[in-house]
């Protein structure tokens, strides 16, 4: 029976087109992550100050950065500062000419991500950033390097002139500080461009994909009415029980197989091209202010789980609308409405902003929320919105399944 349900979905022109479009989104995501087209791709600046791209550039960057592999302790930070200072003192480092500067930059490529953290740590405030800050540092202390992050945060949270002062309650402020303080140091560094690109571009498949898959989900129930096959369907032995359950199963199975298949292809294509190294680096290398004290691979697992829960929920909701309204058109708009509501509501009112951060989009674009301070206090306990969204949408999906079943099996055919 399951085979026939899937055949109903993919037998139509629309079903085949949806599958092609979904595959196109996977290809697009892989292209974006391997080229860094939407952010910063992996580029190697060679000895002549020229830019190189492609696989050889990636391998050179990998080799260069892995020479700096290790914990960012006093020794490593000192070495970085010393090397940075040495390069700056060379004629190329002093030159105002672009090509000479590029050559100097090329010598720094091995420790650029560490230099970036130093810039952030020693910038003047929590919300400021100075690209040349590391160049002005001659002596660095490990304790200060890590403590600056917490100090800047506290200054920002308790600055009466800043919006953050009133934005968070004292409990929330303490929670944020607690998260910062509990981040394990020293950080471990190695080349991690693969994981960075994986996370950065990992939201396209869950968020764009569900809009496409919505077309398949929308017809699961309503097409019975559209094709006028409902009368025969409901007059059969299993139409009002097992066959309805199989429809739900087909929808959820389809989402599961396509989502995990797509994400697996995307993960292996990205990491296979850019390198698997750096899985154990903390996400703060790329999202310095993040409240999440997790490594790159942990962030990716979390992104995968969030995306899956978000997709499952939206699929179940689309199926429910399809069963309830008997209309594919109304059902197919469901994911679009849910996805685009936040853009309209954001900034209208504080309480609406909270609602917006609790929408399923938060799950679909997990990486975009890695650096935000979206918090909710429930009975005096502070949660990051994502931490609440995961159980919330899991429960809602589980609740929706019997509701869909009940809704469809009780249909009367006039």
């Amino acid at each position: 029976m399951l085979r026939y349900e899937l055949k109903k979905m993919f037998g139509t022109f629309g079903g085949k087109l949806a599958l092609i479009l979904y595959a196109a989104i996977v290809v697009l995501s892989c292209w974006l992550s391997t080229t860094g087209a939407l952010n910063v791709g992996t580029e190697w600046v060679n000895e002549q100050g020229e830019h190189e791209t492609g696989l050889s550039a990636i391998h050179k960057m990998q080799d260069a950065q892995n020479q700096w592999e290790g914990y960012l302790d006093q020794d490593m930070l000192t070495k970085v500062i010393q090397e940075n200072t040495r390069i700056n003192a060379t004629p190329e480092g002093q030159s105002n000419k672009a090509q000479q500067s590029n050559i100097a930059y090329g010598w720094k490529q091995g420790f650029i991500p560490i230099r970036e953290l130093i810039n952030r740590s020693y910038s003047s405030g929590f919300r400021s950033y100075d690209y040349y800050r590391a160049d002005g540092i001659s002596v660095i202390k490990e304790e200060t390097f890590y403590a600056n992050r917490i100090r800047q945060l506290k200054d920002w949270l308790y600055d009466k002139g800043d919006v953050a002062y009133d934005l968070y309650t004292e409990t929330e402020k303490q929670y944020i500080i607690g998260q910062y303080e509990s981040l394990e140091t020293p950080f471990y560094f190695e080349y991690h461009d693969g994981w960075y690109q994986l996370l950065e571009n990992g939201g396209f498949i869950p968020s764009l994909g569900i809009l496409i898959l919505g077309f398949l989900m929308a017809g699961i129930f309503s097409n019975e009415f559209k094709w006028k096959a409902d009368a025969v369907y409901f007059s059969t032995l299993l139409g009002r029980n097992k066959a309805t359950a199989v429809k739900i199963k087909a929808g959820l199975l389809l989402i599961t197989i396509l989502y995990w298949g797509a994400m697996l292809i995307y993960s292996f294509a990205t990491l296979g091209y850019l390198g698997f190294g750096g899985a154990g680096c903390v996400v703060q290398f790329r999202v310095w202010k993040s409240l999440y004290n997790i490594t790159m691979w942990q962030a990716w697992v979390l992104a995968l789980i969030c995306g899956y829960i978000g997709n499952l929920f939206l699929a179940a909701l689309t199926m429910f609308i399809s069963a309830k309204t008997r209309s594919s058109v109304i059902a197919v708009t469901t994911p679009f409405v849910i996805m685009f509501i936040p853009s309209f509501l954001q900034g209208m009112a504080d309480w609406l902003d909270v609602v917006v951060t609790m929408m399923p989009v938060t799950l679909l674009e997990f990486y975009q929320h890695l650096g935000t301070f979206n918090l909710i206090t429930v009975f005096g306990k502070v949660f990051r919105t994502v931490d609440l969204c995961i159980p919330l949408y899991t429960v809602l999906t589980v609740v929706l399944i019997p509701v869909i079943y009940r809704e469809f099996r009780r249909k009367q055919i006039a």
Binding site: Y4, K8, G11, A231, L237, G239, I413, A414
Partner: protein
């Protein structure tokens, strides 16, 4: 084998599509005759559990069919009036899917589908997509799906509507073949279909059970007589307004009318035997002639 309808009513916002309908059926072919909007489809939808009645009851061997749920639907074969299908399924896949919905195991279903494809003459079209079939072939696929579970109750709603004469005859013969050892309830507004196949005829009007019995019983129930009268062309309109006319046949110099009347309508009128079509016109009046021109 007793399918009993007791005081069945279906009310749609004050409009009674089926109104206090009672009837019982055992083995045989029953023809449900009525004009469009008489409530035939609503009655059939309740008999197939697709729609719950507002009041009244349908029982199978004394047990409420809605309470029986799957146990009742297991006995059921249904070909709806507006027969829908999955357009991109082949005939074979369509039948196999419906067999799965009817809880028939795949091995048994394969054999049954093979037999039915042969019986309805669709063996050559088994791999054709449903959407590419002609109207008659779709109807035959429809009857095949209804027969998959060898149902005790076969409900066919307007099975010959839209078919050309040869397809209609073929379909009627097919229904006759399939009617052994089961209840077949066949709704139509095409009198000739019923006349040929049904053992018992039910006339339905405005949601109510008007009369039932064999073709002869129903013909004999008509309190008026049928007359053939030859008239001039100029008198046709006058006669059509004055009498119930079941047929107008053009003849040289005028027309030959088939008139239903208690008394001799014209001087030259000759009394003839009534047919079911005359009875249909008698009970359903002018609307039968206007809306159901296929009689």
């Amino acid at each position: 084998m007793d399918l009993r309808i007791s005081n069945l009513t279906k009310d749609f916002d004050g409009f009674k599509a089926v109104n206090d309908f009672s009837f019982s059926m055992d083995c045989g072919v029953y023809g449900l005759l009525g004009i469009n909007g008489a409530g035939k489809t609503t009655l059939m939808r309740m008999l197939t559990t697709l729609m719950k009645p507002t009041s009244g009851q349908i029982t199978w061997d004394g047990e409420d069919v809605f309470a029986m749920d799957g146990k009742y639907r297991m006995l059921l074969g249904y070909l709806p009036q507006d027969f829908g299908y999955y357009p991109d399924f082949s005939v074979y896949d369509y039948l196999m899917y419906i067999a799965a919905l009817k809880g028939i195991r795949p091995a048994v279903a394969r054999q049954r589908v093979k037999e039915l494809l042969k019986q309805v003459g669709l063996v050559k079209a088994r791999n054709k997509k449903m959407k590419t079939l002609s109207g008659g072939m779709k109807r035959r696929a429809g009857i095949a799906q209804a027969m998959l579970n060898d149902p005790k109750i076969l409900i066919l709603d307007e099975p010959t509507a839209g078919l050309d004469p040869s397809e209609r005859i073929r379909f009627r013969n097919l229904i006759r073949e399939l009617s052994e050892d089961r209840i077949v309830l066949l709704s139509t507004h095409i009198v000739s279909d019923i006349e040929y196949i049904a053992n018992e005829i039910l006339l339905m009007k405005d949601g109510q059970h008007v009369i039932s019995g064999t073709s002869e019983d129903i013909i004999n129930s008509m309190p008026e007589s049928v007359w053939i009268s030859r008239i001039s062309k100029s008198s046709i309109d006058v006669c059509l307004k004055r009498f119930k006319v079941s047929n107008v046949k053009t003849v040289p110099g005028g027309a030959e009318l088939r008139i239903i009347s208690r008394n001799q309508p014209t001087e030259n009128a000759i009394q003839v035997d009534a047919t079911l079509e005359d009875v249909f016109l008698y009970y359903f009046g002018e609307r039968a002639g206007e809306e159901d021109a296929e009689v």
